[in-house]
């Protein structure tokens, strides 16, 4: 899945990979991150 030029929504989780980390990684693949959040699943 090519992420270059895609609009990414990053939904991370505190106990997994958080939103800012997902954002960094998506941007490293050339994507634009339009929304990033870290959820706490209970």
């Amino acid at each position: 899945m090519e992420l270059k030029d895609k609009q990414v929504v990053a939904i991370g989780e505190r106990e997994g990979v958080n939103g800012p980390s997902l954002k960094l990684l998506a941007e490293s693949a050339g994507a634009t991150v339009v929304f990033s959040v870290t959820e706490c699943f209970v």
Partner: protein, 106 residues
């Protein structure tokens, strides 16, 4: 998924458009990853949020999936995902998310 986040995803799907939009998840287990994947594809299964009954059908991937990982910076990936990759049930998480992305393969 948090109700405010559901509203944000719904708004972005309407304003940015579904074409070219991709959801990336970072949940640590198959159940929570599947719940989030279901919410952005078929709608909120708990019927509590703005995406209840709203099947957006967005392409959703987990950060552990090779299909997206291969395009990311390897050093950054190791730094931010390496630890979870060691402890998580990678195959089960991928299978769970994929079952919502490609329901015909489930």
């Amino acid at each position: 998924m948090d109700l405010d986040d559901q509203a944000n995803v719904n708004r972005l799907a309407e304003t940015v458009g579904k074409d070219g939009m991709v959801i990336i998840l970072g949940q640590p287990d198959p159940n929570s990853a599947g719940l989030f994947a279901e919410t952005v594809t078929r709608g909120d299964p708990t019927w509590a949020g703005p995406l209840a009954g709203v099947p957006l059908g967005l392409p959703v991937y987990h950060i552990l999936e090779p299909e997206i990982r291969e395009h990311m910076d390897a050093d950054l990936y190791q730094e931010h995902v390496g630890l979870m990759e060691l402890s998580a049930d990678v195959d089960a998480i991928i299978k769970s998310v994929k079952s919502y992305r490609e329901p015909s393969d489930a």
